[in-house]
Symmetry: C2
């Protein structure tokens, strides 16, 4: 049984983009993998020090989303990063194995520093987060780490550290991880932007109400040149069709709708009606499940505590092994 | 009762330089301070990854030296840094509060990077060690930290972090530390170099045998121009006189010897005889005490374990307080 490590930064409730990009995969993976799902509150702090309350409250929101979509705490270990201090310990020792110039060359870090306008005022915790991420992965001896293309350098960095430790130990103490690059295309935002992102306000949350879903579909980006119903319309870049492709179970019907839309004579409102139906049907059980769980937050808290205990035990074993490689603790 | 944090990197047994520069002060401080003494094995690793065995074995050597000179585990808490994982956790969160450019400006780090010829290949763990040191100091809410002049920027860095945490918390969660700069001059090496240092091979260890002491005094640097006994000799820069100043209880006799040496007519061998007597008398009880303790290393190990437990409990309280400031753990 292979081990998977995955997770999310608790900076907001999860949305359809998360479902398509990772959650549905986790629901599948948990059946025949040992899956650890990390709620990365400590990592989220590295660039949210001005808003710790946001992170605090979203831990439970994210946990609710996990459970609502069918992640099963009996099959997956869901845990809170900041409650596993062993990860900071591993991170601390890994810092001796990476040079400053190696971190500076990490393309993901470079890009994110640019995006966040940090320039020279990069917090050290942000600069070193590839090492912390390597510790997260190595602590659980993960075989597989689901990532986007842009995260591949992080896996490379992890494996460099893993090989370094194993070389010092002269045996395979840690496990090299394999990136599991998603084959599913990214779900666009409802505004047509490439990425659904809460900061862009173009998301549909997994806990969205019927009304919110309805409004989101109404606002959805279609073909801006499809002015009259009888005009031929474009389906490429038309968010409504992108979503139908992903969520409509009847692919033949979707193909028919596409052809009709391209010919002309199919109103946006009609296509959107199809999509709304599908999204309402898809999100209703998730929302209802989520609402039920939200009535018993102590159950969710207990689930996180138990998961965190399990995760700590695993990470502690790895930390002991790594410290033993460096001769720490034997005196 | 004020709290003192102090310690040593276990990279070798301690020597007379350590005694004069810090150990004798600790023996005094423990009487009316709450003193934590850290054996910094984790920090020593940052630039000793190629020689972990050295660090491992020297933990007990350093502990033996402490006990032998009169540091009393009932009055001082002696602990092993790597066995207090709370310190890495605090360090991890502190990393969010310091920028990369701030670290680059730290004069102590700059100087040490130069000394170690790291250039661009600085291990991240070495680059960030001022943050780790800040965590050590803050974890114990130390009021006083004995340091050399060259370490003052480290205390400044610590207090910047402390103030930042307190500002976020809007109350004094952590304690600003005060540098306690030694007024005692540095003991020169037996070769006349300014500093006694094991890497220069110019030390007299606290556990030195009678023979080793005798040989060290014989080799000791005097006045190279004092060729014939009747020549006038110089006492400035003459290591034998520097040591007599520090160790001889009879200051009048030392003044007389100096005057005679300066006039001419006093042989180096005679001055050295005085010094050897004094050093043998000074080091004999330390050596004997040390040898006795070395026969019961399990006692020393237990002492370290108990000290480490005490230190962990204190550090854990601080970590909980700091995590609470950041809202971590409450969900």
């Amino acid at each position: 049984m292979k081990t998977v490590l995955t997770g999310d930064r608790p900076t907001g409730p999860l949305h359809l983009g998360h479902y398509v990009g990772s959650l549905q995969n986790r629901v599948k993976l948990q059946k025949d993998h040992r899956q650890f799902i990390l709620i990365a509150d400590a990592q989220a702090l590295t660039d949210n020090f001005d808003n710790t309350e946001k992170i605090r409250t979203n831990i439970l929101e994210v946990a609710l989303d996990y459970l609502a979509v069918g992640i099963d705490p009996k099959q997956s270990t869901i845990f809170v990063q900041s409650q596993v201090p062993e990860l900071t310990e591993l991170s601390f020792y890994f810092m001796n194995l990476v040079t400053v110039s190696r971190l500076e060359r990490n393309p993901t870090v470079k890009e994110e520093i640019k995006q966040r306008n940090f320039e020279r005022d990069i917090p050290v915790g942000f600069f070193t987060y590839p090492i912390s991420q390597a510790a997260d992965i190595a602590a659980f001896k993960a075989h597989l780490v689901p990532v986007g293309e842009d995260q591949l350098p992080m896996i490379e960095q992890t494996n460099e550290i893993v090989r370094r430790v194993n070389r010092i130990a002269d045996r395979a103490v840690l496990m090299e991880a394999e990136a599991m690059v998603s084959t599913v295309g990214r779900l666009p935002g409802i505004d047509g932007k490439a990425k659904m992102s809460k900061s862009l306000g173009n998301t549909i949350n997994l806990g969205a109400s019927a009304d919110e879903i309805s409004r989101a579909v109404k606002k959805m980006y279609t073909d801006p040149l499809h002015l009259a119903v009888n005009d031929p319309g474009r389906v490429e870049g038309n968010v409504v069709f992108s979503y139908l492709d992903v969520f409509h179970p009847d692919t033949a019907l979707v193909a028919e709708l596409k052809a009709h839309y391209q010919r002309g004579g199919l109103a946006d409102s009609l296509v959107k009606k199809h999509l709304e139906e599908v999204l309402q049907d898809f999100l209703r059980p998730i929302r209802e499940h989520r609402a039920l769980l939200a009535q018993d937050l102590n159950y969710v808290r207990d689930m996180l505590r138990i998961g965190t205990q399990t995760a700590r035990a695993v990470a502690a074993t790895t930390v002991d092994e790594v410290k033993d490689v460096f001769g720490l603790g034997r005196f």
